[in-house]
Symmetry: C2
Subunit: 391 residues, 2 copies
């Protein structure tokens, strides 16, 4: 008697959530230090000092109206600071009106897709991808169109072009990528833009950027604003400032976007009526005061290195990720992802099969877990590798 | 090139928002104390001390993971505390699983409607009503069915019954009511329940309760859980604790709801995939610590009395509201709401015509403005009354 489309969703649940519960069950049996739960991308580092200082300052010095309504798009000063930062990075002028503060990136994506999609419009996603995109697209009448990436998980421009129809409204890109960890180079963004601009209708590029500050090996992420014209950015501080529970992010429409005027207004309207109304007031102020701070990225890099070594030293194969919080390892030949998952499970290693990202033949491991867990897991990886004749 | 359904929305904008901008324009010309802006329901009292103390305590004593993800439905301890409070009030046992913490009531309503509605399902609203309901319903494929209330703005059970079809999925009730300020008595809720239960399919009652703690004249709001069976509550602390900018509220499915199991799960799924993911972590903790606190209701009552006196003493007619933050005054005979609005505007009184609430023949005045503004407006009301021959 609830909505019929909800029935299969609540019956199946989220595979990742189920792993999370299984992890907790195993920990109760074997103890915390003997279960190697790499299933959940829950950033476990604490926010940087700038964040706790800013929060303390605001809480210790309450001012009238600080918890009141503001414009639906957020505080002008916060939006201006973000517009300046992103503009400086890309070497362009960005008006604060380009920015709408949101309840994290998931909210931002829903606001954008609600603004763009008519019933039956198509949105291209690049496999493997964060499967919640399916819901975000379908919530607003859109149709998910899956396009495979190349062997190194980079967008395949020809394959994308082949998937475009007159109903293609947008493509979602996600760099640094969940689950593969790859960072798209500037030339690739340029080629994507050229191809999209050659079409006879506007195709928006939605850049989902929760991991933009989590890059390693001295790499920098090319400013997407410089390379893509019909662009909308969906950003979140969940990972950059380790604030996933507080729900703060933004949308930013590129000044070069051909639908700039309509789209900026539509996003604010969607944001209001889809129920967020505005992003949490205090977190807007905190991020404004912490705009140039970052979580301890070197710590994540160290963990990536440790987990990557465990995997390859034990005889498995993986592309070393340059960003984000995941290693997308190859499932050993002759096994399905689920069979491999089951074997790992026998050794208390929890990972998520590629199916959960439309990326069969791989499994995802999140390295945002304690260094001790990663170190302790080394033996288990070797044991699995030995069982499979890989070491 | 954005979604075609968005075009008329962004062209028309929100009437209430436009009044807000007009208020700011007039204040610049005439000065803050000579513009009587009753257009916006923006609670202007500060949160009670319990809230600022709790926020300060949390900010001063950071604990690991306090800004991290929790279950999509929110902290177990917060949900348990709410379940206990609402259960105690209604004299029933409520499981924490009945509660999902949300990003305010607007988010809660979207989560619930997304969970309930199939394309073309009908939702009954009682005129006059908060017009954002239209968006919340249409966002998820629903159809708005308007039913008039009686002369004193109470639900008319026979009229509601006449509007029910086999596609009626829900009815939204809002007591204390925006814009009329009426509080529905227990017998009326009982009659509504009896009538709905006599139908051969489940019709959910969505109780939108942002004003439940704002009642005057020693009145109490009957616990809706006692009187309605197929009930979902959408609550917000925006008004009770004066935290509208922070976005914190909840849904609560009655244990008596025939769809309890499916609906509680569907709401959490909707909450996650519509983009909220979870309610802001720190505000969940703050409201848990401030659960029995309230904004200074006596202050609002005093302002209501002052504004009501201004209106009736100047010769106008209004039902004295027992709750919420608004007086819904009758438009004087012989004038349209817009004509009356224009005359008031000439005297720097800003109000919202009934059309914005599907309640023609009336205008809404919000009394959550400073006492000085209300006192200063008295002369202006008398001048308008005099012009219209009412005093």
């Amino acid at each position: 008697m609830i909505a019929s489309r909800m029935i299969p969703k609540i019956r199946s649940g989220s595979a990742i959530r189920k792993m999370f519960e299984e992890g907790n069950r195993l920990k109760k049996i074997y103890g915390d230090d003997k279960v190697y739960d790499f299933s959940l991308g829950n950033p476990d580092l604490e926010p940087p000092k700038e964040v706790s200082d800013a929060l303390k300052e605001l809480a210790d010095n309450p001012t009238p109206g600080m918890h009141g309504y503001m414009s639906n798009s957020g505080y002008e000063s916060t939006r201006a600071a973000i517009a300046k930062k992103r503009g400086d990075e890309a070497g362009m002028e960005i008006d604060p009106g380009a920015v709408c503060m949101t309840v994290g990136a998931a909210c931002a994506m829903n606001d954008v897709l609600h603004s763009l999609l008519d019933e039956g419009d198509e949105v291209i996603v690049l496999c493997p991808y964060f499967m919640e995109y399916n819901s975000y697209i379908e919530n607003h009448g859109g149709k998910v169109v899956r396009v495979n990436t190349s062997d190194d998980f980079m967008p395949d421009i020809k394959a994308i072009e082949a998937a475009i129809t007159d109903r293609t409204k947008a493509i979602i890109i996600n760099s640094p990528n969940n689950p593969s960890g790859v960072v798209y180079p500037a030339e690739l963004l340029s080629s994507l833009n050229d191809m999209l601009k050659s079409k006879d209708h506007v195709i928006h590029v939605i850049s989902d950027e929760p991991y933009i500050d989590l890059v390693y090996d001295g790499m920098t992420v090319p400013p997407v604003l410089d390379y893509i014209d019909n662009l909308v950015i969906c950003f979140s501080w969940s990972k950059s400032l380790s604030l996933p529970g507080e729900r703060i992010g933004y949308t930013l429409v590129s000044p070069k976007n051909e639908d700039y005027e309509d789209l900026t207004q539509a996003i604010v309207y969607s944001h209001r009526t889809l129920g967020s109304v505005n992003a949490p007031a205090i977190w807007q102020k905190v991020v404004e005061k912490s705009l140039y701070a970052k979580v301890d990225v070197a710590n994540y890099e160290k963990r990536r290195d440790l987990l990557y070594s465990n995997i390859v030293d034990a005889g498995f194969t993986a592309v070393k990720p340059n960003g984000a919080l995941y290693i997308f390892m190859k499932t050993p030949d002759g096994l399905t992802d689920e069979e491999f998952q089951d074997i790992c499970h026998d050794y208390n290693i929890l990972l998520v099969p590629g199916k959960s990202f439309s990326g069969e033949g791989y499994c995802r491991l999140a390295f945002c877990v304690s260094e001790t867990t990663i170190r302790n897991s080394r033996e288990a990886f070797f044991a699995v590798g030995k069982k499979l004749g890989l070491n």
